[in-house]
Amino acid sequence: MTMTYLQKLEAESIHIMREVAATFSRPVMLYSIGKDSSVMLHLALKAFYPAKPPFPLLHIDTTWKFREMIAFRDKTAIELGLNLLVHTNQDGIDQNVNPFDSGATAYTHMMKTLALRQALDQYGFDAAFGGGRRDEEKSRSKERIFSFRDSKHTWDPKNQRPEMWRTYNTRVNRSESIRVFPLSNWTELDVWQYINQENIPVVPLYLAQRRPIVRRDGMLLMIDDDRLRVRQEERVEELLVRFRTLGCYPLTGAIESSARTVPEIIQEMLTVRTSERQGRAIDSDEEASMEKKKREGYF
């Protein structure tokens, strides 16, 4: 009787989640509605069964997510009977911060990073699960599973706590916190294979379908609502596309694909020649941008 690779990953993630539940007083799970969040939530349901996960879900709503994501979020929370908290940075709304006029960097800082910090402070969470994986990006590949944040939510990459074996240091002083990444050692392919094996529901945007698209700055942008102002020189096309990652629709590029099912996505991944975050406008905004955002408190 030997465990498969996916079973090993699953057991590691469940162990991490139980450590958090057992040692922190106010944990929360960041729920971003994407495939990684879906896997993380599925693992949490397994980790504490027959009990429910002993922490709420938190969604940072920028108000610019795809409509299908919000529908999927609300349906999931109701079906599973989970406590879902939604937080939006009201200052950003008041100042009309948006992805078109404010620039991706300023927008992300205001509506995601600051919004997250507000929510964590407001509820006093001392541990927050995120779905980040080490294969996503270079600064993430350097981050600990239990990643310490000081009282200002700052990550100090040059001074991380040693993390030995599966013996985690879960201690924090008041107002300090830990970001926890139970999917650290999963790859994008692992995530899809697990979704396939476990039949985990995902937002339909991951699957190919004909969608209204404009080409802008080298990205295929989907027109999710009429806030996307189509420019004169742009043409709206119906293209067969899907998304590899999901975020705010004006900043998330689609890829042309005919993969309409999860097995077809897995097949496609075996030949794909670009990385997952390539469709994210916010990453290419500046050199080492992910590390910078993470140091400021982004997930």
């Binding site: 009787m1 294969d135 600064s139 590949s141 240091n169 990385s275």
Partner: protein, 628 residues
Amino acid sequence: MRMVLDDDMLIEQDAPVTNTFLRVLTCGSVDDGKSTLIGRLLYDTQLILDDQFSALKRDTKKHGTTKGDDHLDFALLVDGLEAEREQGITIDVAYRFFVTPKRKFVIADTPGHEEYTRNMATGASNADAAIVLIDARKGVLRQTRRHTFIASLLGIRHIVVAVNKMDLIQYDQDRFEAICGAFQAFSETLGFRSVGFVPMSARFGDNVITASPAMPWYKGRSLLSHLEAIDVDEDRVDQPFRLPIQLVSRPNLDFRGFSGQIAAGRVSVGDSVVVAKSGQSSRVKSILCGRDNVETAVDGQAVTVVLEDDLELSRGNMLVAPQNRPQLADQFMAHVIWFHKEPMIPGRSYICRTEVDSIGATVTTLKHTIDINTFAQKAATALQMNEVGVCNISTQAPIVFDSYRDNRNTGNFVLIDRFTNATVGAGMIDHPLRRAHNIHWQAGDIDKHARAALKLQTPMVLWFTGLSGSGKSTIANIVEKLLHARGKHTYMLDGDNIRHGLNRDLGFTQEARVENIRRAAEVAKLMADAGLIVLVSFISPFRSERRMARELFEKGEFVEVFVDTPIEECARRDPKGLYQKAMAGEIKNFTGISSPYEAPASPEIHLRTMGHEPLDLAMQIEKFLDEA
């Protein structure tokens, strides 16, 4: 084509299933080419994607160390932190994933600099095998020995020595063989099961994945082929059952399950199991793995076990096989690797964290440190950052463990600073100390309460802390008189007086100060046990020692009195002329001048002495005791 395969396809390969996954550590000295090697492996297995490749080309121009020729600087694929790219070094461990038709790999790329040993140890703690890189021009260096030693210490049993940069020594076979000989000579005693040697050039790809035409004299495997062939014994399934308990699941009155990840062996429904700390036994009623009820579960699986009987069992305990139980002890010997700038000092109190247990602990003895170069034992009074030492450790209550040699999961611990919560050290347990088994606490019939009752008082310790000359002894002396007048039985322990007798062998180094406080606290404890009210007047400058003293006593028994006088005032008073000498440099390690005083954050009594008479201050304490 990318060599990415899914699990089903992997199983079709000839390798046994248990061996299809390998966690590898890369280590070696600075500039030996570790990051370059990983970049090369990813590149040659076609795992560098198009957008990453364009970024690499761009970055090579900007930061690369291979400027001036057309070659790509593969290190930039892994050195992901800004500081690393700017300085051209690796600071922290990076994890990379890659797949070949034979195996899945997680590679932990670790820093070479001694300064970042903690990050190297982080990578090594979970690795099955290590690639030790050696620069062919330089041969075996101090760092090579150091990393090889740490890899061995952390339980890695398979090594591949990659002699890199062969291109820079004209692919010289004699030089390669000399390096292999040197490595073998020093690593003989480190207990490796397999050691392989590969002459290589990571930059040009020689012998990384395919055989090198430049070295026809080498008939052995390429590096990748070595890694694919390493036979990792996954025999923990056949070891005695261990389930460290992470949490108790109690969703309703009908269900009480014990959750954890199995650390060794297997368990089936109906098996007899024993609670390690109490020795109580029961049978397994059911096993949940996720949402499924299973008959049997094995090492590595995360489960929730339900027992037939209602036993006392919670986090920090362990369910184990009845025939082969782990150790249960409060004293043990361990190899400790130290991570923090503040040295480890025997007598100081830390948090000892095992996978699921957490408890106060003290290093009672530092037996010796280990010289990384000669592996010889050296006597020492403290363990400095990046050093390895053999220590005796004492915990406040017994913990459950196996020896690290037998089980890496149940034989490890980390040490955590009580105030900053920094992870300051990591330990690998060798064995319990016999003392813990054979010396039992003598419980007499007449106890503390009986003795105190005879005196009509509650035993207590008043711990006065403050700078030299702050007025501790003056105030304590008045308090004792007030108490004596009311018929209370007291005793005063004064820092200076104790140093004339019990502690006359101690100096004023940090280590000696820690021991000074430890002895005073133990004496105070005996006196409190005798039913006395004890007044302790010691500078006691370090928070951790005061905390250690506090933890010896029952709740409410220990009263910390902070005699708070500004240092300028103490120096002005200077009753013993010490400040004058200290400022003239005649006294070393003088608190407040050349050694720190860590003020209490929340003392029970905080006496601000400026503008108050000692008698008024003493009466404040008396009032506190009346109200307590």
